[in-house]
């Protein structure tokens, strides 16, 4: 037992040192010392006369004369003993603070073992966190197995594996590879014809041709828009407690189109942050600024609107930090950032860039904040929805005032009564609860015709009722003619103004060279190649979609509390490559999916279980459960129901009754009909307060704040959704139907056909046999004629297919 334990310990140590590249003093060691030791062991009055602010002072030791990093055979160094709490005389360090974690101790240990190397002429206690140093570009390293790499990525990955004497995995089989790359690039599994074409294409470059086809597909933009929209906290409602619907889907469509035409990433960022401020901006460039309008709007009564306007400004600041810089700038809202070099003052200087837009906190129409498309006609269905929504809104408004109306009615003098329109007079005494909507509306109109809120709602509704449809619109950014004053908020409290601040970027990053900089200057600054973070953060987010984890695991924190890159040189190489490729995202996608690293099999390997259990070194691919929307898209594709239409207003696929009653306001969910019932998950109307349960259950974000990585939970509620949800049963029925129609013949051949539709592969004999058994079992238990029994048996088999772990997994 003890022996086993020791093995674990040894194995574990190997693993933890494996996680990062060989230890580098400035990058790896100094941050630990600075954060955990230098407060007491710094230049001023160091405890025990011992300083830890440079490697040299550490080597020298303190009053005791013993060097903490000296190596004695058969014994750990004093430094390691002390941080582990194993020293006989010295208390565990950091004193009265939480102990260092195992990975940190392993870094120190590796550094000490290497003889505590460090550059000469070191500045005491100061270090620059790696992410703030501009990416360097080293040549892809040489490798022993020269036939393995397919491109530069593989050199970096393989060099590291060879260093640890780990062999990469073989290439995934062609079926698995085609399904993987199709799901990764378009979010859709390959069709039967695509599978056949790929298998029959024996000439060199078959895979490359498939990749080009997928990159050119309009579905590429649909698939890759989703993670970007997560970061942009996109939703189709206003959030907070009222959560009224909003129109901003034109922004979603802009993202899809921009990705499809491979708009260079720098331009992609500039247009979203400040498209409205470009010289003579196009409509499209204005639509792009919806990025910053995905903030919540609070329609609750009695609120302080300034509070919620400020919330929007701070949310934009935090989202800016998370989405582009990969920094938790929000930590500096109340105080100087505890770990990263961002002062509270700098936070408010950054937020000042976003403090001049026209929108308020209440969601009232603001001039310039809404872009209308008068030439576009909404569909009859969306007009119906608008009508229903507006009536419900007005009803809520009137019901809150019903008692006052009835009081007024009771007090009406006979001559006043006589002046009312006859149809109103006849019903005016009906109790409020008994009144129809039209009667309530008429009664209120007579009682208080000068109420501006009522008049505007009434007029808008009347227009809609007359058939004057509201044109589609989208929320955009627009600047006030004169900038607002911006202040630091003491403890983050917007009622407590500190110093006045002007727009500026954090000092740790390259300076923004502009007089009186504005939002456009900020946008240009963030994509300036000199910015050390933007390209790294962007490429890391793309990488994590393909491998389940970024090269920097903490994709939203490149600061000092974040994790170190597993392959720092590769991260930097890719970041510089993105810039060298004129910020073409498709070029990077292409390079990743063509790499040998990407093409590896995802099968677990017993040897890696111990040497690299979390697969940080990428000696294999990973099995990744599909994103919520793609779980739907795969079922739609397999069943043949998918409507391929791109873009447009959000749609309302069926969902279980009662979901909409969970919010404060009970809203209606009228299921779409026709092709809108079978659109891709991307187009489902996203209510922040009551998201569609089939998406929420698979970890789709709710649009409240920037989400840069989704969790991949695995729960019984997901099982209930796939087993019992009305839509999934509908998909299964369609799949059953399709198989019988398109693959008439023997049962085993039909099962093979269904395997191709759902899993893009042939079954193993045992798999086929199990389903044949199931079919026969169901067929003999069913009632009715042979056709009916076959239908019923196939429905069960189809449900099994849509519930398989493999169906909802990218292998």
């Amino acid at each position: 037992m003890i022996a086993v334990k020791k093995y674990f310990w040894a194995g574990w140590l190997v693993t933890s040192t494996l996680a990062a590249a060989p230890v580098d003093y400035l990058r790896d060691v100094k941050p630990i010392l600075t954060r955990h030791c230098v407060l007491c062991h710094g230049a001023e009055d160091p405890e025990a006369g011992f300083r830890a602010d440079t490697a040299q002072s550490l080597r020298e030791g303190g009053d005791s004369g013993i060097s903490p990093v000296a190596l004695t055979p058969g014994q750990e160094s004093v430094l390691i003993q002390v941080v582990r709490g194993e020293h006989e005389e010295i208390r565990r360090m950091p004193f009265k603070k939480p102990p260092l974690d195992d990975a940190q101790i392993a870094i120190l240990q590796a550094w000490v073992a290497a003889g505590a190397p460090a550059p000469a002429a070191e500045e005491p206690g100061k270090y620059i966190h790696w992410a703030f140093v501009p990416p360097g570009r080293v040549a892809p390293p040489a490798v022993k197995r020269a036939d393995w790499p397919r491109n530069s990525i593989d050199h970096f990955i393989l060099a590291r594996l060879e260093q640890e004497q780990i062999t990469p995995s073989p290439e995934a089989n062609p079926s698995a590879l085609l399904r993987r790359v199709s799901l990764d690039l378009t979010g859709l599994p390959p069709t039967g014809a695509e599978i056949d074409a790929f298998r029959q294409d024996r000439s060199p470059g078959a895979y490359e041709r498939a990749v080009e086809r997928l990159l050119a597909s309009p579905h590429f933009g649909e698939r890759w828009a989703r993670p970007w929209l997560d970061a942009a906290r996109y939703a189709d409602s206003n959030g907070y407690s009222i959560d009224a619907p909003r129109q901003i889907w034109k922004y979603r469509d802009w993202v899809v189109a921009a990705l499809n035409r491979d708009l260079p990433f720098d331009q992609f960022v500039i247009e979203q942050l400040a498209g409205d401020m470009l010289p003579t901006p196009t409509i499209d460039q204005k639509v792009a600024t919806g990025f910053n309008r995905n903030t919540q709007l609070n329609g609750e009564g009695g609120i302080d609107t300034e509070q919620f306007r400020v919330e929007s400004v701070l949310d934009r600041t935090n989202t800016f930090g998370t989405a582009f810089l990969g920094l938790t700038v929000g930590c500096a809202q109340c105080h100087d950032h505890k770990f990263d070099p961002i002062k509270q003052r700098e936070y408010y200087q950054l937020s000042a860039f976003f403090n001049n837009s026209v929108d308020d906190g209440h969601g009232k129409a603001t001039p310039g904040g809404l872009l209308e498309f008068p030439d576009e006609r909404p569909t009859a269905e969306s007009r119906e929805r608008d009508l229903a929504e507006m009536r419900a809104e007005l009803t809520r408004y009137l019901d809150g005032r019903g008692m006052a109306v009835m009081k007024w009615v009771q007090a009406l003098a006979a001559e006043e009564r006589a002046k009312l329109k006859p149809e109103l007079r006849e019903t005016i005494d009906v109790t409020w609860d008994q009144k129809t909507f039209a009667q309530k509306r008429a009664a209120y109109g007579a009682y208080k015709s000068d109420d501006p809120e009522f008049r505007s709602r009434d007029k808008e509704l009347a227009q809609l009722e007359r058939g004057e449809a509201k044109p589609p619109s989208t929320l955009v950014m627009a600047e006030l003619p004169a900038p607002r004053d911006s202040f630091l908020f003491i403890n983050g409290d917007f009622t407590r103004h500190g110093d006045k601040v002007a727009p500026a970027t954090p000092a740790i990053l390259p300076p923004l060279k502009a007089e009186k900089p504005n939002r456009l200057d900020l946008a240009r600054w963030v994509v300036d190649p000199a910015n050390p973070l933007t390209a790294r953060v962007a490429i890391n987010r793309i990488w994590q979609q393909y491998f389940g984890r970024g090269l920097v695991e903490t994709e939203n924190d490149f600061g000092s509390q974040g994790s170190l890159p597993t392959h720092p040189e590769l991260l930097d190489w890719l970041a510089t490559e993105l810039i060298a490729q004129h910020w073409s995202m498709k070029a990077l996608h292409r390079m990743i999916v063509l790499s040998a690293t990407y093409r590896q099999s995802s099968l677990a390997r017993p040897d890696l279980e111990l040497s690299d259990p979390t697969n940080k070194l990428l000696a294999r691919q990973s099995r990744l459960r599909l994103d919520a929307e793609i779980v739907r898209d795969v079922a739609l594709t397999a069943s043949g129901l998918l409507a391929g239409k791109l873009g447009g207003p959000p749609v309302f696929p069926p969902q279980p009754d009662g979901v909409m009653t969970l919010g404060q306001i009970r809203r209606e969910w009228r299921a779409s009909t026709g092709e809108d019932r079978y659109r891709r998950g991307l187009y489902t109307h996203l209510w922040r307060a009551t998201p569609h349960p089939a998406f929420a259950v698979f970890d789709a974000p709710d649009g409240y704040s920037a989400c840069t990585r989704r969790l991949r939970s695995n729960t019984p509620l997901q099982a209930l959704t796939l087993l019992n949800d009305q839509q999934f049963v509908e998909f299964a029925a369609a799949l059953a139907h399709r198989v019988q129609k398109e693959a008439p013949g023997e049962l085993p051949a039909q099962i093979d056909f269904a395997f191709r539709l759902c899993l893009s592969r042939e079954p193993q004999p045992t798999e086929r046999q199990r389903l044949v058994e199931l079919f026969q079992q169901q067929f003999s238990a069913a009632k009715g004629d042979a056709t009916a029994r076959r239908e019923e048996a196939w429905l069960t088999v189809a449900r099994v297919f849509l519930n398989l772990d493999e169906t909802i997994t990218r292998e």
């Binding site: 407690s241 995802s602 459960r625 307060a689 939970s713 729960t715 209930l720 087993l723 199990r770």
Partner: protein
């Protein structure tokens, strides 16, 4: 003729083990064998290897479960528990400026009143503890010796949605986990047939803010609250699709399991084992959840105690369901009842409207305590009662009387699971405006709840965006006076 004599989990574990054994014998040596042992152990854990399996607390707990009775809208403590005769004397007088200088209130731009409003309700002292309770809570008055009333509770935010979020998550920002999520994250669930965090709702509408109040925020969604709905299908998609028999459903799940097992063997991916377990639990939930909500076997006496009928949805029925949930080991049950938002306008005055809401909860909440006690469940179950804030000592000048939102002092009560029985804690000033003793802020309430469950609130953390988050943020003190 059963080809599989073992349970699915055992079979899976055997197959997985055998498979890895065969791989590992291909010359991988001792270390690999150690690895295989680990792997075998994980597979053998089978259905238990899920994030909701019970985890030991940090120290000996006083309570195992929590039933949280959330009174949405902010009930007026001045009409219910915090008796202020002086306020009655000063009725109609302006509030001294010293009380309100620098304070912000909701609706401050409209009709926020500054004149004091004495309660019109009759108060009396009850039980051994001599606790003051108003005439509006006759049933609750009878259980005062089983509960501790705290009159000095305090919150931070004064609009409903953010305040409710604050009471649930310790923050007014969206995206933080609710306390029920934190607790399941910390302790897992004793019940493998039902979710560990269940939400029940009653009253005219849903609570403000809706589902974010029981969201898991940055914690895995496994820990989020599952709202049970009234009626036969308490969980979304719980019922087997129309036209499909239970047997056919079972056969479907069996086939899914067999194919998943085979694929787990081929890929060696543990995640598939978790999915197999998830399907087994889903299948158990299909039986256990309808069984839970079926009150056929509850006696007439029990129904009478709660004042409910078997089928009609109500707060009382939810209280009875809450007892049934903790009986089955569900860790955190939260009941929401709307609405206590007594501003004084139509439908929200302190006259008839308030009386009606009081009647809706009084009998059932008292019955819950009595029933839990009679069944020996109260000692392990902490019951918490309260809103997101209280009401001002000033009255609002609308058609009928009402009070504005007040975060500085309000009343909550606690019972069971390690809490004193029959005590009144915390004093407020003579107007009931500020606590003058034992201020018990939301963060302190959270700290105390976690403490009763055997967890140190400073140590229950989750790393997100580079920071270790806690339910209590950087605040919170355990209110030791509350502990038995």
């Amino acid at each position: 003729m059963n080809p599989y004599p073992l349970t699915p989990a055992e079979r899976l574990s055997q197959i997985t083990r055998r498979h890895f054994l065969s791989r590992c014998t291909m010359g991988l040596g001792g270390i690999a064998l150690a690895s295989m042992d680990k792997r075998g152990a994980a597979a053998a854990a089978g259905p238990l290897a899920n994030p909701l399996s019970p985890k030991p607390p940090m120290f000996a707990p006083r309570a195992k479960n929590i039933i949280y009775l959330f009174m949405c809208g902010g009930p007026s403590q001045l009409e219910l528990f915090d008796y202020k005769p002086r306020l009655v004397d000063l009725n109609g007088q302006p509030i001294p400026e010293s009380y309100i200088a620098g304070k912000r209130f909701a609706f401050m731009d409209t009709s926020h009143g500054t004149k004091l409003l004495g309660t019109r309700r009759k108060f009396a002292q009850y039980g051994q503890s001599g606790a003051w309770v108003s005439e509006l809570f006759p049933y609750t008055a009878k259980i005062v010796d089983d509960i501790t009333i705290v009159n000095s509770c305090a919150a931070t935010l004064f609009n409903h949605a953010p305040a409710k979020l604050f009471m649930n998550t310790g923050s007014g920002q969206f995206g933080r986990p609710a306390m029920g999520s934190w607790i399941n994250y910390g302790l897992g669930s004793e019940c493998q047939d039902l979710p560990g965090f269940v939400v029940l709702q009653s009253g005219p509408r849903g609570p403000r803010g809706g589902a974010v109040n029981w969201g898991s925020g940055f914690l895995p969604t496994t820990y989020q609250g599952v709202p049970f709905r009234g009626g036969a299908e308490p969980i979304l998609d719980l019922a087997t699709p129309t036209g499909i028999t239970a047997e056919r459903q079972r056969q479907t799940i069996d086939a899914i399991r067999d194919l998943n097992v085979q694929h787990a063997v081929e890929t060696g991916d543990d995640e598939i084992n978790t999915r197999i377990s998830a399907y087994e639990m889903a299948s158990r939930m299909q039986t256990s959840a309808p069984e839970l909500t079926d009150l056929t076997h509850e006696s007439e006496a029990t129904l009478k105690l709660y004042g409910v009928e078997r089928e009609t949805p109500s707060f009382g029925r939810n209280c009875l369901l809450a007892r049934r949930l903790v009986e089955r080991g569900v860790r955190f049950v939260q009941l929401y009842h709307t609405s206590w938002d007594s501003h004084g306008g139509p439908g929200e005055n302190l006259q008839g409207d308030f009386e009606k809401t009081c009647r809706e909860v009084d009998q059932a909440q008292a019955a819950l305590i009595q029933d839990l006690k009679a069944r020996g469940l109260l000692k392990d179950t902490l019951v918490v009662w309260g809103g997101e804030f209280g009401r001002t000592p000033m009255g609002e000048s609308r058609d009928t009387t009402g009070r504005n939102h007040h975060v500085d002092a309000f009343t909550m009560w606690f019972a069971g699971g390690g809490v004193k029985a029959g005590a009144v804690l915390g004093k407020t000033d003579e107007l009931g405006f500020n606590p003058i003793e034992d201020r018990f802020h939301v963060h302190d309430i959270h700290a105390t709840m976690l403490h009763l469950l055997g967890m140190d609130h400073t140590k229950l953390t989750f790393r997100f965006q580079g920071r270790d988050f806690r339910l209590t943020d950087v605040h919170g003190e355990v209110l030791t006076k509350l502990l038995a």
